[in-house]
Symmetry: C3
Subunit: 114 residues, 3 copies
């Protein structure tokens, strides 16, 4: 069995955990003072940065679970998502509304092949 | 490492992503004009159709995460679920209430062995 | 491909499903009459028991998805979590607020290497 690789292992959580060829991580906006559009753009950009960090690409994405603090931000998510997701290589995606920490508009749980 | 197989890859998401022997997909009712009971019956039937599409069976199910728009529909879910899930081969299941797109009563995130 | 191992397979769900070196399971408090602090302590202890059952350790944890009935319990979660999670080997963690079954304060979806 492959070892467990943990990147950015802080007290409370690891930034990325890789096991069995699958990398898993969570993204929330690094700057939660921005509005929903700003935070959505941030987390998509942060996914790109994490993919680069693990030597993967957008086409490696397997699954993204999206939690929105306000589901009425879904059209904004879709607008930014549709220009970001690689044509013909989209992950599966679920998107639901849930309570997030104060100020946060979006939280992603991501799995990618590595 | 195995390749990533994507079925029904549309602009926004793929219908199914298979990697490392695990198939992942999301189901919402194809006809969201039906009530909760109708939508729950639909998504369970849609899971069957997807399992058939990937050459798997109900006994291949590993995990189902259930989001209900109204958690008071859980007894209806359980009633239909209990006659659907294969005895002795049930997946793990979490079930929580979350905001779903207008009209939708249930959203499933599924993982199955393939 | 490895077989699917199911532990505690009841009518509605299995307690644990193991496939491809990954164990998956859901925890809610066995005694939901306790308050949030009591239930959080319980589910963390229950994770320990399940890890022991599958011959794994806290350092085997890959991912924990936390649903809180009331997100204002997050500081209590963090307080108990920080003394529980193994330093340098934390899983990834997402934490959102969602509607849970009456009386339940926390629900966890866990993946661990096995």
């Amino acid at each position: 069995m492959s070892p467990i690789v943990r990147l950015g292992s802080a007290r409370r959580w690891s930034d990325v955990v890789i096991f069995g060829g699958v990398a898993r991580w969570v993204e929330v906006a690094e700057d939660p003072t921005q509005d929903a559009r700003g935070q959505i753009a941030q987390v998509l950009s942060q996914v790109d940065a994490t993919l680069a960090q693990i030597g993967a690409e957008r086409t490696s994405l397997l699954e993204i679970l999206v939690f929105l603090a306000d589901l009425s931000d879904a059209p904004t998510l879709n607008e930014l998502w549709d220009t970001w997701v690689p044509a013909g290589h989209a992950p599966i995606r679920a998107c639901v509304g849930a309570a997030l920490s104060p100020g946060y508009k979006i939280e992603l749980v991501i799995q990618a092949a590595q």
